[in-house]
């Protein structure tokens, strides 16, 4: 539990050499459930992109994995980011999770395709396999995208606001499910969200971005009345 899978040392993140946030030093433990919180424009997405390797850090050191073994990311984007013009079925989308293991000019084997069906079953999304992805509801899309992330056989599950545009009941069901697979599969979970009650219920660690500061700690450490007042006052200010 205490072995770190992500280490940030004096990390600066941003675009085109311009730092949005700097001096970030923290570790994410293997098998932990970490929530990334912060108001819009505080750098959550930039941090996520940097962790995923989609953009380089501006400065400092970022170590992903341990002992030279690079972990596999299972990335769950916001469903709204995916263009509804593509006539892909739920199964087509979930199958993309295997593409990291299946090299160019090769096709997913029967075993891989069966595994994708298992992932859809595990996320209670089997019923959406043959339906058009663009026609599914927000919660249904997220289940398919989580199945796709599981199909990558991930070490780290990264979810970018998975409950955005999802109704309250589906949000609770989704987070219960993420917690369940986190425990069953000993997955490291990084969850970007605005939903404080859900974070309090499911997360173990919190990375809270506000202004130019980054707070890192357990739920018990950060969700005290004093710290909350301090943080919220800072955000309002």
């Amino acid at each position: 539990m205490n072995q770190s899978i992500i280490t940030l040392e004096n990390l600066a993140i941003g675009y085109d050499g311009q730092a949005v946030l700097s001096g970030i030093s923290l570790t994410v433990a293997r098998g932990s459930f970490t929530a990334i919180l912060g108001a819009n424009g505080t750098g959550k997405s930039t941090l996520l992109k940097t962790l995923l390797g989609l953009q380089p850090p501006v400065g400092g050191r970022l170590q992903i994995g341990a002992d030279g073994v690079k972990p596999v990311f299972g990335y769950v984007p916001q469903a709204i980011q995916l263009d509804p013009l593509y006539p892909l079925t739920g199964y087509d989308v979930a199958l993309m999770g295997t593409f990291g293991r299946v090299g160019p000019a090769r096709f997913p084997s029967r075993a891989e395709r069966d595994f994708v069906r298992e992932c859809l079953h595990a996320t209670a999304a089997s019923g959406f396999a043959q339906k058009k992805f663009s026609q599914l509801s927000g919660g249904q899309k997220q289940r398919v995208l989580i199945a796709r992330a599981l199909a990558t056989k991930p070490d780290i599950l990264v979810l970018d606001e998975p409950t955005a545009g999802v109704d309250v009941a589906a949000t609770h069901a989704l987070l219960e499910f993420i917690s369940q697979i986190h425990q069953e599969r000993y997955l490291t979970v990084l969850l970007v969200t605005h939903d404080l009650p859900l974070v309090r219920k499911h997360a173990q660690q919190i990375i809270w971005l506000h202004g130019s500061a980054v707070l890192h700690g357990t739920v018990a450490e950060l969700f005290t009345p004093e710290r909350m007042a301090e943080i919220l006052e800072m955000e309002v200010g």
């Binding site: 989609l54 006539p87 096709f107």
Partner: protein, 287 residues
């Protein structure tokens, strides 16, 4: 039906034109699928025009260099191919690079490329009387003078495009649909984007040489939009678009031969009619 028998006869005088038209009809929608899904339809308009400007520049070269008319005509096909392919590939790589940087208006750039390419073609045309008639045929989509060399070139180029699309379809689809996911899976997004754009460029330049820019754009776009109305999944979307393009081009050729019309415009009007029919059928089924 006599005219259909004529067209299907191995001794038919214009058989190369039929084969080329059908090949272009099958192949263009396969890359047109990516133009439509990536919302780059304007690129589908601009590229064929840039390609035909490349042909115009290449065919003007002998005149500018003071070569004789006979010499220029002997090498006209090779020059046209080099001009078309060269201009298209350079243009598509520049446009793709600018799209990747994500700054400014992509529509504005493509619109500018289209209008400047068109104007340049007209300017070159007005200054080169030797090639004027051939260019006009090309611009109007007169698919009647296809040599064995042209047919072979079209077949080889389109077979290459088809093979690359078939083998690397999952990579091309992934980087188009979800670039972030592709990157987290270790895919080189820039490399696969380049492969896709080169493929589009090659197909467009060969199609323009065979059928002209207007008809090439028609085949890139209309069968794809028609298939999009009807297909239930990605696999059938691609297959249906290609079949609609191929069958539409054959039927268009038949109708043009029957009614003595220009082939290219007949193809495009027919594809447009099929699109409207599919739209009406879909609406009727929905009711």
């Amino acid at each position: 039906m006599e005219s259909l028998k004529d067209i299907l006869s191995p001794d038919f005088l214009l058989r190369n034109s039929v084969y080329t038209s059908v090949l272009v009809g099958f192949a263009c929608p396969l890359v047109g699928v990516f133009l439509v899904l990536r919302r780059l339809v304007f690129m589908g308009v601009a590229l064929p025009q840039i390609s035909s400007t490349g042909v115009a520049v290449a065919l003007s070269l002998p005149v500018w260099l003071g070569l004789t008319v006979n010499s220029a005509e002997q090498h006209a096909h090779a020059l046209a191919f080099i001009g078309s392919t060269g201009f298209t590939l350079v243009a598509i790589l520049i446009l793709a690079l600018l799209e990747r940087r994500g700054r400014g208006s992509a529509e504005g750039r493509l619109g500018t490329a289209y209008v400047v390419a068109t104007a340049l073609s007209i300017l070159l045309l007005s200054k080169n009387r030797v090639a004027e008639s051939g260019w006009l045929d090309l611009l109007k989509g007169e698919i009647i003078t296809i040599s064995n060399f042209d047919l072979g070139l079209t077949a080889v180029a389109l077979a290459c495009a088809l093979m690359v699309l078939g083998l690397f379809n999952k990579e091309l689809l992934l980087v188009s649909f979800d670039r972030a996911m592709a990157a987290t899976l270790g895919k080189n997004v820039l490399f696969w984007d380049t492969v896709l754009f080169l493929l589009i460029g090659l197909t467009v330049s060969v199609a323009v040489l065979s059928v002209g820019p207007l008809i090439a754009f028609g085949f890139l776009l209309i069968p794809v939009l028609t298939a999009h109305l009807l297909a239930r999944n990605m696999k059938w979307f691609v297959i249906l678009a290609s079949v609609l393009g191929g069958v539409g081009s054959f039927l268009g050729f038949w109708l043009a031969y029957q009614w003595d019309c220009p082939v290219g415009p007949t193809d495009v009007v027919l594809l447009g009619a099929l699109y409207m029919l599919a739209f009406a059928v879909k609406k009727a089924v929905a009711l």
